[in-house]
């Protein structure tokens, strides 16, 4: 069978006045379609329902989902939802990109050669999202009201991210789901309400790191402005084992937390009546 290995190239004609909602720009939606059909897919501009061809020049045809590679040029800082729910294939974005890039993605890869706005990789279920610049708030986070956020997959941000990344992350050793974030620096509330997320910060971060964390690992190779009162210092370590078995070398101070969360203290000793004081969440700060 002949595989069509032609990239689909999109170029934004000019920066739109209102944000564009581009959830149809995914390998899944482009798969098996020639350029002429891709151009007719819907895109929203304010309250107007438009077509991709109204805003983008399109060339190339989509192949199988996993073989489809979409390359997008132009100033996309106002274009939201690229890569939404994709299951395979590749998207390369050669500029800053708008909110919700790669949300609900379960496979494939997105590379952003620029900064990403808020909600990058929200509700991620698999695949890989790489951002060479900075990202906004809520990286890999759960949408409002969801109690399960990122379940698997990996997000890499070379620059700094904002607040509340990996909120309500849900990883699990038995189910082999290891949601992971690597970033150059972070704001506050990293891994808030995380249940099994893995976060590695190459630089510094702000306050309230690991707030309400139940399970999971947060490693900060730079400085933290303030550690939460509910985290207990355990000691010094020379290496860290992540949930997925990977080993990280280096001298770190180990803290367990978050000890203010009820879930970490649900066992009450029937004899002494004391609440068991263990927590499976861990925070490591470079020593």
């Amino acid at each position: 069978m002949n595989k069509l290995l032609v990239d689909v190239k999109l170029k934004l004609k000019k920066r739109p006045k209102f944000p564009l909602e581009a959830e149809n720009i995914t390998p899944d939606k482009f798969a098996g379609k020639p350029a002429a059909e891709i151009m007719k897919l819907t895109i929203y501009h304010g309250n107007e329902e438009k077509k991709i061809r109204d805003f983008f020049d399109v060339s190339g045809n989509g192949g199988e989902v996993n073989d489809t590679k979409i390359i997008i040029d132009g100033d996309l800082s106002n274009v939201k939802r690229i890569g939404e729910k994709m299951t395979g294939g590749e998207i390369i974005i050669n500029s800053n990109v708008g909110m919700h890039v790669g949300n609900n993605m379960s496979g494939g890869k997105i590379l952003v050669n620029g900064n990403a706005d808020d909600w990058a990789g929200a509700m991620l279920k698999g695949g890989e999202l790489e951002i060479t610049g900075n990202a906004g708030h809520y990286v890999g986070a759960a949408y409002r009201g969801f109690w399960k956020g990122m379940e698997n997959g990996i997000i890499k941000v070379k620059g700094k991210i904002g607040n509340e990344a990996l909120s309500w992350a849900n990883g699990s050793k038995p189910s082999k789901r290891f949601p992971k974030l690597i970033c150059g620096g972070a704001g506050s509330f990293l891994g808030v309400h995380s249940h099994g997320g893995t976060i590695i910060v190459e630089g510094d971060c702000d306050r309230c790191i690991g707030a309400d964390q139940v399970r999971g690992t947060i490693i900060v190779k730079g400085k933290i402005s303030r550690i939460l009162p509910s985290y207990k210092k355990l000691g010094q370590v020379k290496e860290i084992e992540l949930m997925n078995g990977e080993i990280i070398e280096g001298k770190f101070t180990e803290y367990s937390g978050d000890h203010s969360v009820e879930k970490n203290h649900s066992k009450i000793d029937k004899k002494t009546g004391k609440i068991s004081n263990s927590s499976n969440g861990r925070l490591f700060v470079a020593a």
């Binding site: 006045k17 209102f18 944000p19 909602e21 929203y44 501009h45 304010g46 309250n47 107007e48 909110m99 808020d118 909600w119 708030h137 809520y138 949408y143 409002r144 009201g145 109690w147 607040n163 509340e164 309500w168 506050s188 509330f189 808030v192 309400h193 306050r207 309230c208 707030a211 309400d212 303030r226 939460l228 009162p229 509910s230 207990k232 210092k233 978050d258 000890h259 203010s260 969360v261 009820e262 203290h265 004391k274 609440i275 004081n277």
Partner: protein, 442 residues
Amino acid sequence: MAVKNIKTVTDVICPFCGTLCDDLEVDIDTKEQKVIEVRNGCQIGTKKYFASNPSGHRYDKPLIKDNSSYKEVSWDVAIDKAANILVKAKRPLLYGFSSTECDAQGKGVELAEMLGGILDNTASVCHGPSLLAIQDVGAPTSTLGEYKNRADLVVFWGSNPVHAHPRHLGRYSDFVRGYFRKDGTNDRFIVVVDPRNTNTAQLADMHIQVNPNEDYELLNAIRATLRGVELDGDVISGVPKNKVIELVNALKTCKFGVIFFGMGLTQTLSHHRNIDAAICLVRELNDHTKFLLTPMRGHYNVTGANQVFSWQTGYSYSIDFSKGYPRYNPGEFSSVDVLIRDEIDASLIVASDPASNFPAAAVKNMFKHPLITIEPHHTPTSVNSDIILPPAIAGIECEGTAYRMDGVPLRLRKVKEAPGECLTDKEIIEKLIDAVKKKKGE
């Protein structure tokens, strides 16, 4: 000898703050249709009644901007011009709704849906973070009557009721005798957590002077202490450790406690996470005693706006209809954020004053585009509008339902007629809906 016709209306619901006092008495001169006296109200509520009398500050006819002044026009002309602006807009903002009654709020939802715009209310800049936190972790709450009758420990966190909810302490939370608190304030222990020694803190039994923007760490430390964790360090968020332990003991050993919280938690750094921590704390205190919490809502019917929007769209504020169905995401669709990103191309402001209450950068962008206001008085927003539509003031000149801060609905009374050609908010929005429908050809 002139005989004044004075009508006294009792059990009037005050339309100012979320306390929604229901015991006002208003005297009206029935001939002049003017408020003469208000009894039982606080200074602010009383002022609102007097300010409703016709004056140079009150609009009583529709106005359209004509160069740098305003000219009076008929309702038909004003509504037609407003509908033209709204129909042409690709991303209109409909904002406010907190100082009007529930029927008008429902009409606002209908209009926003027809226009495919953004619908928002003042919770967006006020207790929105509380709603975000409740959506994440729930809320153990109750009605004000329960607190009046049972609470022996009352915590005001980031809230200053003496200034913002003047009769709250006297009707529900401190200086009032309850069924189980027969000795009133002597049966209650009041705690105030605030960076300043506010007038409320000066009345309290314990004042915790926390550093600004460090409330989360303090809540976290309280929760940890409650769980038996030894705290490191002697000072947390500016509060000595022994005072934290003293507070935890007070919380654990009361019979029935309540936390009332306000802008000190929602408008400081970490916004909704502060409320999240407060709710989790209250929930865990229920392992030891009975504890609940209630947000101190600012406007008298912002709770109603949240209720009405929720019934009709599933979401309580910051709602986007641009795809034809409601979507919710504060930060993306909230008024201040969309204005700062200059995403809006027309605004309809109902029952609120964003020019006074939004940060300057947002107001600047709001003024760049057509602005329609439904507003009874001269405000910084109305005097910069293109069209001014004068309403009857809900709760004074118009009946309707309002929801108190604890979710209890109360029926607002009409005590007098509106001046001039004012119509009710509901009637105005209905006219806009009809005009928009005609222009869209439905």
